[in-house]
C-alpha cells in the first residue's frame, strides 16, 4: 500500500506539456529520491504532490485522499501530516529560528508554551541548531538554513517529509552532513521521505528507491542497484554524466591557435 500514489498525471503550462502521464507510488517508511536533470519536471511533480498547483488530468492520492479534487479543508488537514523543506529553505525572515519552528505548533495545536519551547529545542537539536534558535534566518549560513528548514518541517511530527534539492548549493561536506541527517531521521522517526535532487552521490547515499524523470516522463523506478543496472541510454547518460552533445568550437579553437602563435593582431 503506497502512501502517495500518482496516476496518469498530466501537467501543462501554456499548452507546453511538463508532465506527461506520470505514474508513481511512494512506499511508507522509505526514502524515495526523484532524480532528473534540469527541466525534467521534478519540481513540478513536487508542487503537484504538495497541492500547490492543479494538474490538467490525472490524480494524486495521499493517504487515500485524492488531492486533485478534495475540499480545501481536507487538503489543509492532509498538509498537517506533511513536512516540507524548500530548496530556498523559505524560512520567514521576520521570525527567529525558534519562532519559525514554533509557528505551526502555536497555530495548529493547543500545546502549552513551555511544551512548545521544549519541542522547538528538540527539533533544533536534531538538526544540530539548538544553540542558534535566537538567530534570524539572514544570520545563518546556507547549510544552517537548509537544516533549519528541516527542523521546521519536522515540527508537527509529519508522516511524510518532502525535501526539495536539500544539498543544492552546499559544499560537499555540508551536503554529506545533510544526507546523514536525512538517514538519521528515517532511522529514528520511521519517516517517509520524498527527496528531489539531481546530485547523484546524494541520491545513491540516501535512497531506498529512485525514480528517474526525463522530459516529464518517468524513465525508471527501482532500488539503487536496479537503477545502476538499467541500460536505458538516457539513464546511462545521466548516471555517467555524459553531455548531450560535445562542445564543438572549431572556429574559436582555430582563432585561439592563430592568436597564440601571433598570427592574429592582439587587441
Amino acid at each position: 500500500m503506497s502512501i502517495i500514489s500518482v496516476r496518469d498525471l498530466v501537467v501543462e503550462y501554456d499548452g507546453r506539456r511538463v508532465l506527461d502521464g506520470l505514474n508513481l507510488d511512494i512506499v511508507p517508511g522509505e526514502i524515495t529520491v526523484l532524480l532528473g536533470g534540469s527541466g525534467s519536471g521534478k519540481s513540478t511533480l513536487l508542487r503537484q504532490i504538495l497541492g500547490l498547483e492543479r494538474p490538467k488530468s490525472g490524480s494524486i492520492s495521499i493517504k487515500g485522499t485524492d488531492i486533485t479534487c478534495c475540499s480545501p479543508a481536507d487538503l489543509k488537514n492532509l498538509r498537517r501530516s506533511i513536512g516540507v523543506a524548500f530548496q530556498s529553505a523559505a524560512l520567514f525572515n521576520s521570525l527567529s529560528l525558534e519562532d519559525n519552528v514554533a509557528l505551526t505548533l502555536r497555530e495548529h495545536t493547543a500545546l502549552a508554551p513551555s511544551i512548545i519551547d521544549l519541542i522547538v529545542w528538540l527539533k533544533l537539536a536534531v538538526v544540530g541548531l539548538a544553540d542558534f534558535g535566537k538567530l534570524r534566518p539572514q544570520e545563518l549560513s546556507g547549510g544552517m538554513k537548509k537544516r533549519a528548514a528541516v527542523a521546521r518541517a519536522l515540527a508537527m511530527d509529519p508522516e511524510i517529509l518532502v525535501l526539495d534539492e536539500p544539498s543544492a548549493g552546499l559544499d560537499p561536506i555540508v551536503a554529506a552532513e545533510l544526507d546523514e541527517l536525512i538517514l538519521f531521521l528515517k532511522e529514528t522517526f520511521q519517516i517517509t521521505a520524498l527527496v528531489v535532487t539531481h546530485e547523484l552521490a546524494s541520491a545513491f547515499r540516501i535512497a531506498d528507491r529512485i525514480a528517474m524523470l526525463f522530459n516529464g516522463k518517468l524513465l525508471a523506478v527501482g532500488t539503487k542497484d536496479e537503477i545502476r543496472a538499467i541500460q536505458h541510454p538516457r539513464v546511462r547518460q545521466f548516471l555517467n554524466r555524459v553531455p548531450d552533445s560535445p562542445v564543438h568550437t572549431p572556429a574559436f579553437a582555430s582563432h585561439l591557435e592563430r592568436y597564440v602563435h601571433g598570427q592574429e593582431a592582439k587587441p
Partner: protein, 267 residues
C-alpha cells in the same frame, strides 16, 4: 492596424483580469479578516495587525503631519493672495478648514501611505513569493490571505482614517498660524471659526474616502506582491507598480466620491 487592435485587446483583457483579481482578493480578505480582529480572532493575527497599525500609522505620522503643515500654509497663502483683493480674507478659514477636512487630509494621507506602505506591502509579499515563503505558508496549512493580507488590510483600515484626521488637524493648524501672523487672528478664535465652518457630513465624507483609499492601497500593494513572478527585479517592478497604480486609483476614487458627495449635498 491588426497589431494595434491586438495590443489594445490584450491590454483591455489584462486590465479586466487585474480588476477581477482585486475583487476576488478583496472578498477573500474580508472573509479572512475576522481572524485578525481582537477578542474574536486569532491573537497572532491580531498582534500582526497591531504591529502593522504602528508601522503604517505611527511611523508615518511625522511625514504626514509635515506634508499637511506645508500644504496648509500653501493653501492659506494662495487663498489669501486672491481673497484679499475682494476683502474676504476671513474666507481663508473656510477654505482651509473645509478643504482639509473633506479633501486634502484624506488625499495627502493616501498619497503618503501609498508611497510608504503600499510599496512596502508589495515588496514584502513579492519577496515572500520569490523566496517560496507563500508556498511554505500553504504547505504548513495556513491561508496566505488570512495570514499575510488580512492583518495588513485591517491595519490600513484603522491607520489611514486616523492619519487623515491628523493630516486635517495639522493642515488647519497651519492655516491658523498663517492667519495669526498675517492678520493677528487669535488661534482660539480661529479654531472657533473652523468648528462653525465644518459640518458633520464633511467629516463623514472624509472617513468614507479614507476607508476607500485604505482599501485601494492595501489591496493594490498586496496584489502587486502576489503577482510577482521571477526574481528580485520583479519585486522592484511590483513595488513601483504598486505606488503608481494605487496613487492613480486613489485619485480616480477621490474624483468619483467628490462627485457623489457634491450632488448628494445639493439635494
Amino acid at each position: 492596424m491588426a497589431n494595434l487592435l491586438e495590443t489594445a485587446g490584450r491590454e483591455t483583457l489584462n486590465q479586466f483580469d487585474y480588476v477581477g483579481s482585486l475583487n476576488i482578493q478583496f472578498w477573500a480578505t474580508l472573509r479572512g479578516m475576522r481572524m485578525a480582529l481582537p477578542l474574536i480572532g486569532n491573537r497572532h493575527r491580531w498582534h500582526a495587525a497591531a504591529h502593522q497599525i504602528l508601522e503604517i500609522g505611527l511611523n508615518a505620522l511625522p511625514m504626514v503631519a509635515l506634508m499637511a503643515m506645508c500644504s496648509g500654509f500653501i493653501l492659506a497663502m494662495q487663498g489669501a493672495s486672491e481673497l484679499r483683493r475682494f476683502g474676504a480674507l476671513h474666507f481663508v478659514i473656510d477654505l482651509v478648514a473645509v478643504g482639509f477636512t473633506r479633501e486634502l487630509g484624506p488625499l495627502l494621507t493616501a498619497i503618503a501611505v501609498s508611497g510608504r506602505s503600499g510599496s512596502a506591502f508589495a515588496a514584502e509579499i513579492g519577496t515572500m513569493k520569490v523566496t517560496e515563503e507563500i508556498d511554505a505558508l500553504k504547505v504548513m496549512a495556513f491561508e496566505p490571505v488570512e495570514f499575510v493580507l488580512a492583518p495588513k488590510y485591517l491595519a490600513a483600515l484603522v491607520a489611514v482614517p486616523c492619519l487623515s484626521i491628523v493630516a486635517a488637524l495639522f493642515g488647519i493648524l497651519a492655516g491658523g498660524l498663517f492667519m495669526l501672523f498675517s492678520t493677528h487672528l487669535d488661534l482660539l478664535l480661529y479654531f472657533r471659526y473652523v468648528l462653525t465652518s465644518i459640518e458633520l457630513r464633511d467629516v463623514v465624507a472624509a472617513m468614507i474616502k479614507s476607508l476607500a483609499f485604505a482599501t485601494i492601497i492595501a489591496h493594490v500593494g498586496c496584489l502587486e506582491g502576489l503577482r510577482v513572478r521571477g526574481g528580485p527585479d520583479a519585486v522592484g517592478r511590483s513595488t513601483t507598480s504598486a505606488v503608481v497604480r494605487s496613487t492613480f486609483m486613489v485619485i480616480v476614487a477621490d474624483a468619483i466620491f467628490t462627485t457623489i458627495f457634491y450632488f448628494a449635498g445639493k439635494t
